[in-house]
């Protein structure tokens, strides 16, 4: 393998991985913290993408600036969904497994609702626009500018979130809740409110990722599920509730996947994701970076 190809795979992989990181972080926040396995996560990626598409084509908004709309809107939607659905289920005193199964079913219901609402609004036709398609030349290899931009923004937001977790009071409360739920409650962390905030943040991360990928790919209402699967693979790879694990896992998966696509065929992408997911679930459910 030539050095140029290797470099190409590596950078393309890291670009893909950077986008995965943000989606996965959102899912990890929901699953790691409150054991809500939100399989509708990817649907929020899809909705964010369509929101940016509509804002750009109908209103002429700059795609990058739409993040300022889609992020806060998704956060609010997440708060409402948490309050109306998940908070009710989680408030019922039951065995944890039963709660997990029921919140999983809620998410599946949500997936159906969101996907078909999108089909009713935008139809199943491919939608897209072009933005910043100009090629960037780096050390002899060529990368589209929009991909580099999307990856840089996604990685920046991921790292920013990590810093927020380390520094801010809310961030500390979230980390306390991940490590020691009972102890956190004893020192006065408001569980329901913080769960709502985390769910909202998770949805916002998904929607912002969607806004970014709408610059890169054409959209259908069915693009959500593969992102859910990818995020699940990353979260399980990196360990539940492990933020750094998710970041590393996303970059790793991005590079491995890109190598598979370059060296074998593009059909292999989804198969390998599911295969990796199955293998980790069977061999080491706590994740390879897990505690």
């Amino acid at each position: 393998m030539s050095a140029a190809l290797l470099f190409d795979i590596l950078v393309t992989g890291l670009i893909t991985g950077g986008i995965y990181a943000l989606v996965a972080l959102g899912l990890n926040l929901q699953y790691g913290l409150m054991r809500v396995l939100n399989v509708a996560h990817g649907e929020f990626v899809m909705l964010g993408a369509y929101a940016t598409y509509s804002l750009h084509t109908d209103w002429g908004a700059n795609p990058l600036l739409t993040l300022l709309v889609t992020g806060p809107a998704a956060f609010t939607a997440g708060l409402v969904i948490h309050r109306l659905l998940y908070a009710r289920v989680l408030a019922q005193a039951e065995a944890r497994e039963a709660l997990e199964s029921r919140s999983l079913l809620l998410s599946f219901g949500l997936l159906f609702v969101l996907q078909n609402a999108a089909l009713l609004i935008w139809s199943a036709d491919l939608k897209g626009y072009s933005y910043l398609g100009t090629p960037l030349r780096v050390l002899g290899a060529v990368f589209p500018a929009n991909r580099v931009l999307a990856a840089v923004v996604a990685l920046g937001l991921s790292v920013g979130f990590y810093v927020y977790l380390q520094r801010s009071l809310t961030g500390k409360a979230i980390r306390a809740l991940m490590d020691e739920p009972e102890g956190a409650r004893l020192v006065g962390v408001n569980l329901t409110r913080l769960h709502g905030v985390c769910f909202g943040l998770g949805v916002a991360m998904a929607a912002v990722t969607g806004s970014l990928i709408s610059m890169l790919f054409e959209l259908t209402p069915f693009i959500g599920l593969p992102y859910t699967v990818t995020a699940l693979v990353v979260v399980i790879l990196g360990g539940l509730g492990n933020v750094v694990g998710s970041l590393l896992g996303a970059l790793l998966l991005g590079v491995v996947e890109t190598a598979g696509v370059y060296l074998v065929s593009s059909d292999i992408r989804l198969i390998s994701s599911y295969a990796v997911l199955s293998l980790i679930l069977i061999l080491k459910p706590s994740g390879i970076f897990g505690r």
């Binding site: 054991r35 396995l37 399989v39 659905l85 009710r88 289920v89 019922q92 005193a93 039951e94 065995a95 944890r96 497994e97 039963a98 709660l99 997990e100 199964s101 029921r102 999983l104 079913l105 809620l106 599946f108 219901g109 949500l110 997936l111 159906f112 609702v113 996907q115 078909n116 609402a117 089909l119 009713l120 699967v229 699940l232 065929s265 059909d267 292999i268 989804l270 198969i271 599911y274 295969a275 997911l277 199955s278 679930l281 069977i282 459910p285």
Partner: protein, 301 residues
């Protein structure tokens, strides 16, 4: 009691006589509903008592259907159905041995992934190895033969579910759902009971997939449809998965609704299905995982 027996006898007679009594349209509707009954009942006799939420129904159904498409032309009629059952059961044995150690949502996610994984592996295999994108079904059996095949499967599934409930095996399943470690301590071979029942329910799903396949003259890997998995769960949930009547009633109800709306208002129907699922989870807390009486256990890892 006498009245309900008379009603039951009437229903059975009507079902047996349907090929002569009903119109073509009514008969094909009845066929679809009976297939749903098989899926919902066989899903419930495993997932109901054990609380393992399986989303593999679509995978087993698809495997049975695709098996018929591959070997169908070469075997005399009831044999493809048996082959479908065998393929479903074999797949469940493999998956069960690997995945039934996983609890909670991990098992559900794994089984959900199974349908998608099978679909994509099959698409990849068909396009790159056999060079086709699907299979034509030649010389399918007559509509009457198909109807009685699925009716027999439905009767067999209900009979199996009833027999399981009264057996030691059935109590072992409930014991696993209540507390798996305790069941193990009490001397139940939990792996054998779980995997065996999972395979039995998958055999029914594969068989009904095989029996329904001739309805479509052309089959492609899209027959591995996650919607089948979800519809089955919703049917059992809406009816109540703890009983045998529940899944049957849920299947009849949802079968009729989907017949009325699925083709004409596909997206609205699916959206409503999602809302139904959400409502079922919120309104019947004992509906799903607490399927029977609420357990006395507190929260534990």
């Amino acid at each position: 009691m006498a009245a309900s027996r008379a009603l039951l006898a009437t229903v059975i007679l009507a079902l047996l006589g349907a090929p002569w009594l009903a119109s073509n349209y009514q008969r094909s509707l009845l066929l679809a509903i009976l297939a749903d009954v098989v899926l919902a009942v066989s899903w419930a006799f495993f997932s109901g008592p054990t609380r393992y939420l399986s989303l593999a129904t679509g995978a087993f159904f698809g495997a049975g259907a695709y098996a018929t498409a591959v070997i169908g032309g070469r075997l005399a009629w009831p044999l493809p159905v048996l082959a479908g059952a065998a393929v479903g059961a074999a797949m469940a044995l493999l998956v069960g041995l690997l995945a039934l150690r996983l609890r909670g949502p991990y098992f559900a996610v794994f089984t959900f992934g199974l349908a998608e994984l099978s679909k994509h592996v099959l698409i990849w295999y068909e396009t790159s190895v056999t060079g086709t994108v699907g299979r034509l079904l030649l010389a399918p059996p007559s509509a009457t033969v198909l109807y009685y095949t699925v009716l027999a499967l439905a009767a067999l599934a209900v009979g199996t579910a009833l027999a399981l409930r009264r057996s030691r095996w059935g109590y072992a399943l409930i014991g696993i759902g209540e507390d798996e470690e305790r069941a193990e301590t009490l001397g139940i071979d939990t792996t054998r009971v779980k995997v065996g029942t999972f395979a039995l329910s998958a055999a029914f799903m594969g068989a009904v997939g095989a029996a329904m396949a001739p309805r479509w003259t052309y089959l492609d890997p899209q027959v591995f449809n996650p919607l089948v998995s979800f519809q089955t769960v919703i049917m059992a949930l809406v009816g109540g998965a703890a009983t045998v009547v529940g899944p049957v009633a849920g299947a009849v109800f949802l079968g009729l609704v989907s017949e009325l709306f699925l083709l004409r208002f596909r997206y609205v129907y699916m959206l409503a299905l999602g809302l139904t699922l959400i409502a079922a989870v919120l309104l019947f807390p004992s509906g799903l995982a607490g399927l029977r009486r609420p357990s006395a256990r507190g929260t534990e890892a």
